[in-house]
Symmetry: C2
Subunit: 132 residues, 2 copies
DNA sequence: CTTGAGCTTCCAGTTACTGGAAGCCCTATA
DNA sequence: TATAGGGCTTCCAGTAACTGGAAGCTCAAG
């Protein structure tokens, strides 16, 4: 398989696939003409990576997960630990975004948004300590 | 004021303040010894930036907001538009994270997490189409 | 006069790609 | 057979917003 087909079947752009090879996540063979020659197992790995990335795992987490996937003697506890840690990170991010969202939504609501210059959003940013 | 005091009073690290000067967000004067000499107005700007960044505004948004803040003839509608756009971005991010969170939490719950190798998390990532 | 903290600049690294340029390879068609 | 195109290759640079670290100047205290 050439990279184009793998890209289509895995849903990853060719650039990303080449990048994943650069950083050692996949090791496709090469044809005589220099083209990458992907096996089904490479495609499988790339699809795995695509799903893991879609769940927000970092590249390094993905590398570890892939290693565990290929390690018949793994302990599922190791996988679960990574997932739980990642879940905690996601929860932190959500909490932070919701906090921002709260403040920002309040400010947006309080701004009349017309042609006049006075603006509670800017007042707040400039430090008028009116925390409601 | 030297950078150390400004850092303390604004809550921004010195490195960040120098970076903000590099990209033209603040323009402190210089003392004879080459040290940056910040005025109160610079400190005020930096605090403004700190708050805007804490709300998740991009640096370019911050630049625009700062310009609007200093423009006496601004229309509050311009500010509100930026804030609303940013709010929409935040909402998208939250939605995406919550979607990840849902899938991931489900997977974590379904993994026994012991010394055995079988793991629903890896099964899912590897593409066993068991979407429950 | 020395010591140490604080300041300076500059370079490199972070994350995970993405865009673009220059150029080879392969196939189909005129 | 010549050529046009699309796909493939590598390499370099850029993204966002800093952060770490090195080398070296400045200043105040003892």
């Amino acid at each position: 398989m050439n990279i184009g087909e793998v890209a289509e079947r895995s849903g990853l752009p060719p650039k990303t696939i080449r990048y994943y090879e650069d950083i050692g996540l996949v090791r496709p063979q090469r044809s005589g003409n220099g083209y990458r020659a992907f096996r089904e197992s490479d495609l499988h790995k790339l699809a795995f990576l695509g799903r893991a990335r879609a769940l927000g795992f970092s590249i390094e987490d993905c590398r570890t997960l892939l290693d565990l996937y290929e390690d018949e003697g793994r302990e599922s506890a190791q996988v679960k630990a990574i997932a739980e840690e990642h879940l905690a990170v996601i929860d932190d991010k959500i909490a932070q975004l919701q906090s921002m969202r709260g403040t920002l939504a309040h400010l947006v609501r309080s701004c009349h948004g017309d042609d006049r210059p006075d603006c509670p959003i800017l007042s707040d940013l400039s430090g008028s300590g009116s925390r409601s």
